[in-house]
Symmetry: C2
Subunit: 120 residues, 2 copies
Amino acid sequence: MTTARRAILKALENSEDHPDALMLHDRAKEFDPTIAQATVYRTMRLLEQEGLVEKHDFGNGRARYEEAEKEQHDHLINLSTGEIIEFHDTDLEALKIEIAKRLGFDLKDHRLELYGVPKE
Amino acid sequence: MTTARRAILKALENSEDHPDALMLHDRAKEFDPTIAQATVYRTMRLLEQEGLVEKHDFGNGRARYEEAEKEQHDHLINLSTGEIIEFHDTDLEALKIEIAKRLGFDLKDHRLELYGVPKE
DNA sequence: ATAAATATGCGAATGAGTTGCATATGCAGT
DNA sequence: ACTGCATATGCAACTCATTCGCATATTTAT
Ligand SMILES: [Mn+2]
Ligand SMILES: [Mn+2]
Ligand SMILES: [Zn+2]
Ligand SMILES: [Zn+2]
């Protein structure tokens, strides 16, 4: 456990907005001003492999991250603002498993993003 | 309408496997042996903007394409083989719209991929 | 056929992410 | 606290998909 890794972990804990590696680098600098970009990338890869972090691609070119601990959820992206809203739906989870089964597969993973604009 | 574009369109029509730009380049060479990589990229971007083609990211580094004409569907990726299976589920479509509405949004787009391994 | 508009090929540029390597740091074991 | 080794870091160079500039070729409109 190094200074750099502690800094990144703290930056991630303080973030509620699914930050990308650049954002994490900036935020981690507050705790370790000398931290390098490459260290952020390396650490995020490690954390993802350890299952401590989830990596998402919301289609903006950069991967975005969040802690893996929270309860399972999917994302809705507000196309007007870029804001990411989390949601969980039990029926949806069940349906995904059911559809995979119907096709002859055991569901191992999935990726679901909804893109919408505010109603009205 | 140019020779290159016709070649790419034919390559795409002949493909049932959600090809990436490299695959399309290879396949288009059969109809236009001098076609350049850059032309494939430019043409796919154009076709996507025109709504004639759908671009997918199945997490393999390269974007993959398919004609947009066919009926709306989502994808299940066989993790054992990489094979892409298409499916359509009315309940799922309705549920996605319903969830967005519940969150206060009109659903404009979505991305759903299931990753699974063959049952048993 | 001619000219203006567009598309192409090529190679260079971009940008996120990775990696080699020399140095620095963390962590035993003393 | 001191030493030694394993591991992590910073930096710069690299990779790889995709984009872009530009001179030339192809299309399309006249
Ligand atoms: Mn989910
Ligand atoms: Mn769908
Ligand atoms: Zn989330
Ligand atoms: Zn498809």
